[in-house]
């Protein structure tokens, strides 16, 4: 029986090790090795940090790096602010059928690829698009208005794309908030605001954290939305990685960028977890 358990254990461990080892850990180590490799001439390489140096000194890269980080945080915050009241409505105000229907409605965009969602926004926002036409028709504009190709458009897209990943964890945690706890808050003299601050938000914290982490990750790693909706200044770090790999064929620098993005996301995720005293397991698992 012992031996059997042991064999079972090894059989179950193998796929995990192969998967994590061959597809996650070793590739990332290899990526790191490539990123610290400098090409001296045809086929001659040397270990050096020159790519990181370049990444950290070249204003474009640095700026894009921070811009991406800041905008992703911003997108996360906006998503949270928009999603919270809605999630609350679904979890606590709506009842029965309405609740189910609203929740399913929230999932709809998820069932459509990001490309289609972005495409939809392009049709809406472009100079010859629906909104521009509507504004003109309503007399609010006397000529076509371009709403595409700027940071605001990009933000709209990012927030839209991530909305579901914020709403779902929020609804789940808020649903687990016992109505009677809220009632107790009022019963003991609380007002709407104090109940929100002292009871609802602390309770929703796990959902807020996991929603924020996922949304942040999605924004940071997004490629489609910034490239399609963003303007000539709306550079995104993933674009730089793509450019280095595909346009410039500079894998070494691209790998360094990739690694920087990885570090950035890890640091911010770790920071969020630290700030709220939660573990990755609780948050994602």
């Amino acid at each position: 029986m012992r031996a059997q358990a042991r064999i079972g254990f090894i059989l179950l461990l193998m796929p995990l090790i192969l998967w994590l080892g061959l597809l996650i850990i070793i590739p990332h180590i290899d990526m790191f090795l490539i990123s610290i490799r400098e090409r001296i001439s045809f086929g001659v390489y040397e270990t050096s940090l020159t790519h990181y140096q370049k990444a950290l000194t070249e204003p474009l890269y640095l700026r894009t790096f921070w811009r991406t980080a800041v905008m992703s945080v911003l997108a996360t915050v906006i998503t949270l602010l928009i999603a919270f009241p809605v999630a609350y409505y679904i979890a606590k105000m709506a009842r029965g059928r309405l609740q189910q229907v609203l929740f399913l409605l929230c999932l709809i965009p998820f069932y459509v690829s990001e490309l289609v969602r972005t495409f939809g926004w392009m049709i809406l926002l472009r100079e010859t698009g629906i909104i521009s036409h509507l504004l003109q028709w309503a007399g609010l504009a006397d000529q076509p208005v371009e709403m595409l190709y700027n940071d605001a458009a990009m933000m709209v897209g990012l927030v839209y794309t991530s909305m579901l990943f914020m709403v779902v964890p929020l609804v789940t945690t808020l649903e687990s908030l016992d109505d009677s706890v809220v009632e107790a808050g009022y019963d003991l003299g609380g007002t709407g605001l104090s109940v929100l601050r002292e009871i609802i938000i602390p309770h929703a914290m796990p959902g807020i954290v996991s929603g924020c982490i996922v949304v942040f990750m999605l924004s940071l790693g997004n490629y489609l939305t910034p490239t399609m909706l963003g303007g000539k200044d709306s550079l995104w770090f993933t674009e730089m990685i793509y450019n280095q790999f595909i346009v410039r064929s500079n894998w070494e620098l691209g790998a360094a960028f990739g690694f920087m993005l990885l570090v950035l996301s890890s640091v911010i995720v770790w920071g969020m977890l630290r700030l709220t005293g939660r573990t990755l397991q609780e948050t994602l698992g």
Partner: protein
């Protein structure tokens, strides 16, 4: 067999593929791309994944020397009579590395200005005119090397002459960089693909742009105000080629394809789809008269003479250009 073709949009129209498949029993899978991506893809695959690719002739020598992603072409397997001799010779010469030939010509054309002459015709005569405040927010170009070259010429420099002089080339590029940064505010968006630009111009969102000739001619059908104009400093001439990726697996089919599409009637169909003329000898006969007319309208004789043909890009230049492009993109 399957021919995996890595090419530009329009170079392998469906009707041509159908004909080819009917006649030979092979199937053709097309991946649309551009020069940079073609090279990057082939580099990533070590020259595999595709059986035939079509980068421009100036982009063959450098990557081949560095990455070895192509394999030599056995010109004897081609029906050389189908090619315009001068173009074949020039391309072969530009794509020879260590005595092996790597490319043969397919489609050629120019880059210049596509514009709505009614709205921007009086203002935009050369690339630098795209920066005129009168067309602010209504112009577009690519953030790619042809733009750098074009601006350099229209600023009175000769970048091709400086190809072998890195210092000189850098100097030219710095000037271009300054100009492009200054011009940035004027640009609506940097376009990426040919059809993207066509949509921008057709919808009126853009009135003038640096672009390939064919785009202007196509739009001319819808709106006679829109057309291609050779810039005062001269259009840039390019030739897209056929190359065999180093680890292609269907060379014979690739040769068959080349021989097939270079037949004048077929080449004419490609011209109709892509909008550009081919290196096929005698295809002119089959080309639509309308297109020829547009070509002639855009290219008076002196403009033809003024076309600047791309010489092969030496290694190293693209790094300089890449940095310039990055800085332009970064500028506010």
């Amino acid at each position: 067999d399957t021919l995996r073709l890595l090419t530009w949009g329009g170079y392998a129209p469906d009707d041509v593929i159908e004909l080819f498949e009917e006649q030979t029993g092979h199937t053709v899978e097309v991946t649309k791309s551009n020069n940079e991506e073609m090279i990057a893809k082939l580099r990533a695959t070590g020259g595999g994944g595709f059986d035939l690719a079509q980068p421009s002739q100036d982009r063959i020598m450098g990557p081949q020397m560095e990455f070895g992603i192509y394999k030599p072409i056995d010109v004897s397997k081609l029906d050389q009579d189908l090619f315009i001799p001068s173009m074949l010779d020039a391309t072969m010469a530009n794509t020879t590395v260590n005595g092996d030939v790597y490319g043969v010509p397919h489609v050629w054309g120019t880059s210049g200005l596509v514009m709505n002459t009614a709205e921007a015709g009086d203002i935009v005569k050369d690339y630098t005119d795209l920066c005129d405040p009168a067309v602010a927010g209504k112009v577009s170009y690519r953030l790619k090397r042809p733009t750098l070259i074009g601006f350099a010429f229209s600023m009175g420099e000769d970048p091709f002459a400086a190809y072998d002089d890195e210092a000189k080339y850098t100097e030219i590029m710095e000037k271009v960089e300054a100009k492009l940064i200054e011009c940035k505010a004027n640009v609506k968006t940097y376009w990426g693909g040919g059809d993207e630009l066509m949509n921008l111009v057709r919808s009126g969102e853009v009135t003038a742009s640096m672009a390939w000739d064919t785009g202007g001619w196509k739009l001319n059908d819808d709106n006679s105000d829109i057309t291609f104009v050779a810039p005062a400093s001269g259009a840039l001439g390019w030739i897209d080629t056929f190359v065999l990726p180093a680890k292609g697996q269907a060379d014979d089919v690739a040769y068959e394809w080349i021989n097939f599409v270079m037949q004048p009637e077929i080449a004419a169909k490609i011209t109709a789809a892509a909008g550009n003329f081919t290196a096929s000898a005698g295809a002119d006969e089959f080309a639509e008269d309308a297109l020829k007319a547009k070509y002639q309208a855009s290219f008076p004789q002196e403009a033809i003479d003024n076309i600047k043909w791309y010489p092969p890009v030496p290694a190293g230049l693209e790094i300089i250009e890449g940095d310039v492009l990055d800085r332009v993109q970064a500028a506010n």
